[in-house]
Symmetry: C2
Subunit: 213 residues, 2 copies
Amino acid sequence: MAERQINGRKNDPQRTQEDILDVATEEFSTHGLAGARVDQIAERTRTSKRMIYYYFGSKEALYLAVLERSYRKIRTLEADLELANLPPEQALRTLIATTFDHDEANPDFVRLVSIENIHHAAHMLRSEAIRDLNVSVIQTIEAIIDRGLADGTFRRRADPIDIHMMISAFCFFRVSNRYTFGTIFRRDLSEPQTIERHRTMIADAVVSYLKSR
Amino acid sequence: MAERQINGRKNDPQRTQEDILDVATEEFSTHGLAGARVDQIAERTRTSKRMIYYYFGSKEALYLAVLERSYRKIRTLEADLELANLPPEQALRTLIATTFDHDEANPDFVRLVSIENIHHAAHMLRSEAIRDLNVSVIQTIEAIIDRGLADGTFRRRADPIDIHMMISAFCFFRVSNRYTFGTIFRRDLSEPQTIERHRTMIADAVVSYLKSR
DNA sequence: CTTGACTTCCGAACTAGTTAGTACATTTTT
DNA sequence: AAAAATGTACTAACTAGTTCGGAAGTCAAG
């Protein structure tokens, strides 16, 4: 399976599809579902519009494929954090930092989720793949809270989904609302200093919330 | 300026424009800038597409008008809270509750901001009206923190913009990500019970953060 | 290892339907 | 009468999706 002739076409369906998805991810995340143009996606691809329809069938189906792919990427990165061995507070801080870093590193994903919300999560609903997700993180948080309450680190029995929401909200908002927030307050949320400050801030806030009563 | 004939056309530019803006707000916030259809907006109006172009010139200009109007509405509602007389913690809790209630009551606004972020706040940048906004809330927060530090209620000297972001993030996310979050965790974020719990939760979290060190 | 038939993969040009925006005439108000 | 406001009908451009033809890979038989 080595290289072929230099000039002729080399069929590589795998790569072609990946290529399309890469470009489509960018286009959808910058222009939205309705705003993205199939022709524009095709042009930026090293293949043609014909291929987009050959492999994905329609614009919406392509969008769904992009969405699923983005979610799948996270699922793999998540998990395997080995938090059970850490003391509760440190485990929680590690989990929060991971969420924070993920959103910071994947603005495309954040934007796609925003777009999906504008569409009332209609496409997500049709995809079982995506629906059965993120549930593990809730169990992780619940376990941490339980351990913290047992050893006296925490004093408040909070709902793990609420805690997850609080963490997500902060991490997500920083990225999703970067532009309007930055414009209004003339603050660049992507400066390293700011990132670092926010990273500890959200962790401190959640920890102090759980410690208080 | 009393009533005119019952059947003939009555010119009412003021009302016509308001009518257009009302419908356009809904359409843009449900379908996005690219997804919204001028024809659809026109149809739902009690006037015609001709009038949309007569008064607003273009689809984008209409979108901008919608955006400015939404922001203006808040500015008026904000302010006048008379927080200076309340003790620091209570002042902060009142401010947070106000932000929370506003976002909860104005999903259209929240969605428009999300949409504007997808477009990198490009339209907002072109509108001075919107840019010079929300700055007052920062001064309000700063004053509360200062008073709290002075009288020993708070122990942490936090950046007021960061605090505002933390509050906004939570309140905004609940509304903006209602659909994806609800789908994944099978939780309806618009239930009265949930709303009430979250309302106190964000306040408790911010307060405990400022009290801790 | 060559042939050829079959399948998979791909390109260029086209189409049918949609959509933002307009021309022109008409009515209402001052 | 002049200006402001409105209705009807149209168009030029765009855009998702398709048609048709053909090249590249596969595999079995000779």
